[in-house]
Amino acid sequence: MSGGNSADRRKGDAVGAPLIVASDQEVVIEHYPEDWLAFALFWALAFIVFLQFYTRYILNDSLAWTEEIARYGLMWITFIGGGIVVRKQANIAVEVLLHFAPPHIARVLLAVVDIIKLGFIALLAYFSVTITDRMGMQTMTVIDWSMSYVYGGIAFGCFVMLARQIQCFWRNARDGWRRASETIGSGVVVD
C-alpha cells in the first residue's frame, strides 16, 4: 500500500500541481517589486495575527495594537495586491457576454472595459491622495499615529494599480486587444 501510495503521489502531483500551484511542474517565478512588497507585508501580517494569539493565550494579555495594525495591513494587502491582480488582468468579472460574443465584438468590448478600468482606477488614485491629505489630523485608535499612514499605503496601492493598468492598456491597444480576447476566462478563480 505504501509503495503504491508514493507512486500515486508522484503522478497525482504531476497532474494536480498545475491548477493550484503553478502552470508548470518547474515553478516559474517572475519578479516584480510589488510582489516582493506584498510577500513581505503578507508574512508580517501573519506574524502579527500569530502574535495576538500568542499574547492572548500564553501571556494572558493581548497586545492591543495587534488587532488594529492587522486590520490596516489587510487594507494595504487588498490595494497593493490589487496591483498584482490588475497586472495579471485577473479581476473577477461576469464574462458571459465576452465568452459568447464573436471575436471582433469581444475585442471592442474588451477595449471599452479597459478604458472604464483605466478611468476608474485613475479616479481612485486621485481620491486616495485627497483622503491621505485629509486624514493627517486623525490618529489611530490604539496607537498615536496619524491615519495618513494607513491611507498612504492604500494610495500607494492605488498608484501601483494605475501604473499596471496603463501598462496593460498600452500593450493591449498595440495589438488591438487580440491577445486579451484569447485569454478571456483566465481570471482569478475563488469559489
Binding site: 501510495n5 503522478k11 503578507f42
Partner: protein
C-alpha cells in the same frame, strides 16, 4: 436612481471587473445624485475591508493552497479508498468521503475540484468508470467544501450580514454531511443500475496503514473545527493555525514544499485575496448607497407585498439566487446581495445563520450550472472533456443537491441545532 441600476447592470454585462462596476455606479450616485464629496467612494471601499474577521480570508486561502501542494490530498485519497472503496460503486464513494475530509481543511470548492478532483478523476478513469459519472461525482462532491467548515463564502457572509462566523461554521456541518449522504445514495443507485461493483476488498490492515499515513493530514480538520467549536480559536486564529500546521507538514514532515513553491503560493494567495476583498469593499460601498437611497427598503416592501410567509419568501429568494449563481462568482454574489436580502429575511423571522448556509449552498449549485460554472470549467480542463458534455455529465447530480437545499430551507433545525448546542 434608475441611472444607478442601469449603469451597474450594463457595466456588469459588458464584462467590467465587478469591483469597478460597483464603484462606478456608486460614484454616479455620490456625484450626480447626493452631491457628497467623491472621495467617499474610496473611503467606503477601504472601510469595507477594515474588519478583523475578514483576516480569515487570506489565511484560509493560504491553508487550502498549502494543503494541496503538501502531498496531503494523496494521503486523504488513500485513506478514503481503504475506508469505503469496498462499497458498491467504490471510487464514487471514495470521491465523496475524500471531499468531506478535504472540506475540513479548505474553504473553497475549486481547491477541492482542482486538487483532490484531479487525482479522483484519474483513478476513476484507470478503474474503468464511465467518464461522465467520474466528472459528475467529482464536481458535485467538491461543492461540499465551503459547506463544511472552514468556508470562505461563510466568512464573507458573516462579515456582510453581521452574523457570527463561528455559528455559521457550526451550522454547515449537518447540511454538508447530508450532501455527502445524498450523493452516496445516488452513487449506490447508479452503481446498481450500471452493474458497477466494488474496487477493493476491505482489509483492516490496509485501513490501519492508510490511517496512520493520513493522521497528520487528518489532524488539520481536527485542529480547525475542534479549535473553533471548543472556543479556543476565533475563525481567523483557526486559519492561522491551519497554515502553521500545513507549513510544518509541507516543509518538515513531507518535505514537498520548497521556497520557490512557498513564494509562489503566497503570491497566489495574495492575488486571490485582493481580487475578493476589492469586491467585498466595493460591495459594502454599494450596499451603503442602496441603503441610503432606500432601495433595500423598497425591495423588502415589494417582496413582503407578495407574501409574508417565511417559507415562500425563502423559496422566492432561492430561485433568485439560483439564477444569480448561474452568472456570478459566489463571493461577489454574497457581498452584493446580502445587504439587499437581509432586511426581508430578518423581518419575516428567518435566522441569519440558517439563511447563510442556504445562500452558500445555493450559490454552490451555481458552480455546477452553465454558462458560468467555475467547477465545470476546471473539471472540463482536468478531464479533457468538452464543456457542453461536462455540463450534461454534471446535471443529474444537481438533483440530490437541490433536495438537500430544499430540506435545509424547510427544516431550520438541520442548520441551527449544532450552533445552538455549542453557542448557548
Amino acid at each position: 436612481m434608475t441611472a444607478l441600476f442601469v449603469a451597474f447592470f450594463v457595466l456588469l454585462a459588458v464584462g467590467v471587473p465587478i469591483f469597478i462596476a460597483l464603484g462606478v455606479s456608486s460614484l454616479v450616485y455620490t456625484h450626480f445624485v447626493a452631491g457628497i464629496p467623491d472621495f467617499v467612494v474610496l473611503h467606503r471601499m477601504a472601510g469595507g475591508v477594515d474588519s478583523f474577521p475578514l483576516l480569515a480570508v487570506p489565511f484560509f486561502i493560504l491553508a487550502g493552497n498549502l494543503m494541496n501542494s503538501a502531498g496531503i490530498t494523496n494521503r486523504i485519497f488513500a485513506f478514503a479508498t481503504a475506508a469505503v472503496g469496498w462499497l458498491r460503486g467504490g471510487l464514487g464513494h471514495v470521491n465523496v468521503v475524500g471531499s468531506v475530509i478535504f472540506a475540513g481543511m479548505s474553504g473553497t470548492a475549486v481547491a477541492d475540484a482542482g486538487g483532490l478532483g484531479t487525482i479522483e478523476i484519474k483513478a476513476m478513469r484507470d478503474h474503468g468508470y464511465p467518464a461522465d459519472f467520474s466528472v459528475g461525482i467529482t464536481a458535485a462532491s467538491s461543492t461540499i467544501g465551503p459547506i463544511i467548515p472552514p468556508s470562505l463564502p461563510m466568512v464573507v457572509f458573516g462579515v456582510m450580514a453581521n452574523a457570527s462566523i463561528g455559528q455559521l461554521f457550526a451550522a454547515g456541518f449537518v447540511p454538508g454531511l447530508l450532501m455527502a449522504l445524498s450523493l452516496m445514495i445516488y452513487t449506490t443507485w447508479y452503481a446498481r443500475r450500471h452493474g458497477i461493483g466494488s474496487d477493493q476488498a476491505f482489509r483492516w490492515r490496509v485501513l490501519g496503514h492508510s490511517l496512520i499515513a493520513a493522521v497528520p493530514a487528518l489532524l488539520t480538520p481536527a485542529i480547525i473545527i475542534g479549535g473553533m467549536t471548543f472556543g479556543w480559536f476565533t475563525p481567523t486564529e483557526a486559519a492561522i493555525a491551519a497554515c502553521v500546521w500545513a507549513l510544518i507538514l509541507g516543509a518538515l514532515l513531507y518535505r514537498t514544499l520548497t521556497f520557490r513553491h512557498f513564494y509562489k503560493i503566497t503570491l497566489d494567495t495574495i492575488e486571490t485575496t485582493a481580487a475578493v476583498l476589492l469586491i467585498v469593499g466595493a460591495a459594502s460601498l454599494f450596499g451603503w448607497v442602496l441603503t441610503t437611497t432606500q432601495v433595500t427598503e423598497k425591495f423588502s416592501v415589494l417582496l413582503l407585498s407578495i407574501t409574508d410567509n417565511p417559507l415562500l419568501i425563502l423559496l422566492i429568494i432561492n430561485v433568485l439566487l439560483l439564477v444569480v449563481g448561474c452568472f456570478m462568482e459566489t463571493i461577489a454574489a454574497i457581498s452584493i446581495l446580502v445587504p439587499v436580502l437581509m432586511p426581508v429575511v430578518l423581518k419575516v423571522g428567518i435566522d441569519p445563520v440558517q439563511f447563510g448556509v442556504i445562500m452558500v449552498l445555493n450559490l454552490m449549485i451555481g458552480l455546477l450550472t452553465p454558462p458560468v460554472g467555475m467547477v465545470l470549467f476546471i473539471l472540463s480542463r482536468v478531464a479533457n472533456m468538452p464543456f457542453d458534455r461536462t455540463v450534461r455529465a454534471v446535471s443529474p447530480f444537481l438533483i440530490p443537491l437541490l433536495i438537500v437545499l430544499l430540506l435545509i430551507s424547510v427544516i431550520p433545525e438541520l442548520t441551527l441545532a449544532v450552533p445552538k448546542y455549542f453557542y448557548r
